[in-house]
Amino acid sequence: MKLPIYMDYSATTPVDPRVAEKMMQCLTMDGNFGNPASRSHEYGWNAEKVVDEARQHVAELINCDPREVIWTSGATESNNLAIKGVANFHSKKGKHIITSKTEHKAVLDTCRHLEAQGFEVTYLDPEANGLIDLKKLEAAIREDTILVSLMHVNNEIGVVTDIAAIGEMTRARKILFHVDAAQSAGKVTIDLQNMKVDLMSFSGHKIYGPKGVGALFVRRKPRVRLEAQMHGGGHERGMRSGTLATHQIAGMGEAFRIAKAEMEQENERVMALRQRLWDGLQEIEEIYVNGDFDHRVAGNLNVSFNFVEGESLIMALRELAVSSGSACTSASLEPSYVLRALGRNDELAHSSIRFSIGRFTTEQDIDHAISLIQGSVSKLRELSPLWDMYKDGIDLSTIEWTAH
């Protein structure tokens, strides 16, 4: 059977062949397999060189000093290290943290964990377009606030947070600012020389690198202190112990190098594809874009098809690999908590599909997707009593439903 067309680049990306090539050079006896921490022989030195180069590539994409890049196992670990590390180190100064309701679970769950340890967390409500109102953020800041953690690009709706402006606000108040940039690296310009971000999380596999590797930017000037969460050999300036996964790191470095070189062209191409998709979908009645249309990454289009239930739509779209909500939550029957936080009503929250396109998406893919979606939506609406009622002019909010 032919595999479905992949339109779930926000869940993960395929490894770029150039990246895979780099990784393969760091595995076998005749390759660069040494332990980068081995100081006594050439195997170790060579591996260290690979790691340093990769660190340099990551630093170049985000415009920081390579010494500010700490390798981790992925963005989830980076988020954990940043938030718990800061909270534990600075708990004498204050115990208040600010984040938002639309963060990734790796941030939300970490904050919940800290709440159980006596920290207080404010979860900001985003505006209806998914963006954070800076005035509301400012109003939430307290004397004992030690950390603000907000994502750069939302994984479900793709909206871009104004982290430069927030950085000015937090720095002026001597509050640390952590940004989850798993979804933004390689898609949105990140300039850490100029953005006053103190900690930033990155992932390998969202940017055509391998899974199982990530990084945390930890600013040196002004110096950010945090408590290690993984103890051992004191790797990564003591912030994250554990033998460095040379091949994973080499892959992530190459992925970041390619992103730096090709981001501009790629964004242009992906944006044109998304516009093509949207032009095709717009012909369908009663569809809504979730999240601000303009302040979003090129590859994301999150749409609700009113009066059609999301899971049945995904079933109808078996030839497309898309997701309803995020991959982390799609096993549950709950509608997306992100769309809920935006104030979307239940029907719309239940009927959302995230299309995320990327490096290997073609125009043919988009055209095929459009015709599949148009056909499936109209078929499911023929089956939908809600669609009938809408067509009869009945306001669904006036009906007393038998909730179960």
Binding site: E309, S312, M315, D346, E347, S384, L386, W401
Partner: protein
């Protein structure tokens, strides 16, 4: 999630889609579920003078299992008396369609819809008799 062949079949080729004229006194309507929960079923049945369901139509907003449950239900209730139809258990639907545990509520909803349609039909008869 993998769906059973029977769910896929009903989903691909739903039986008896539509609605019967609810203003007809021999037609009973059962609408159950809520958009907030992600599924709404509307079942309409037409009952003949002998109390036998001669026609049944459905429309369902919901996942594939919900659509399949209601499609199957319309097949089962046709030709049954109201009493027989009221005996249909959700477990029979779940078993026939091999629904996984997280989808059992779809079969519950289908059972609720036939009960609601029968109740609506009976209520209409009382009004007509008066």
């Amino acid at each position: 999630m993998a769906y059973s062949d029977k769910v896929l079949d009903h989903y691909e080729n739903p039986r008896n889609v539509g609605a019967l004229d609810s203003s007809d006194s021999s037609v009973g309507t059962g609408m159950v579920g809520a958009p907030a929960c992600g599924d709404v079923m509307r079942l309409t049945i037409k009952v003949d003078d002998n109390g036998v369901i001669e026609d049944a139509k459905f429309k369902t907003y919901g996942c594939g299992s919900a659509i399949a449950s209601s499609s199957l239900l319309t097949e089962w209730v046709r030709g049954k008396t109201l009493d027989e139809a009221a005996q249909i258990k959700n477990t029979e639907i779940a078993e026939e369609l091999a629904l996984p545990p997280v989808k059992i509520h779809c079969s519950v909803l289908a059972e609720d819809s036939i009960k609601a349609a029968i109740a609506d039909y009976k209520k209409k008869q009382e009004v007509t008799e008066e």
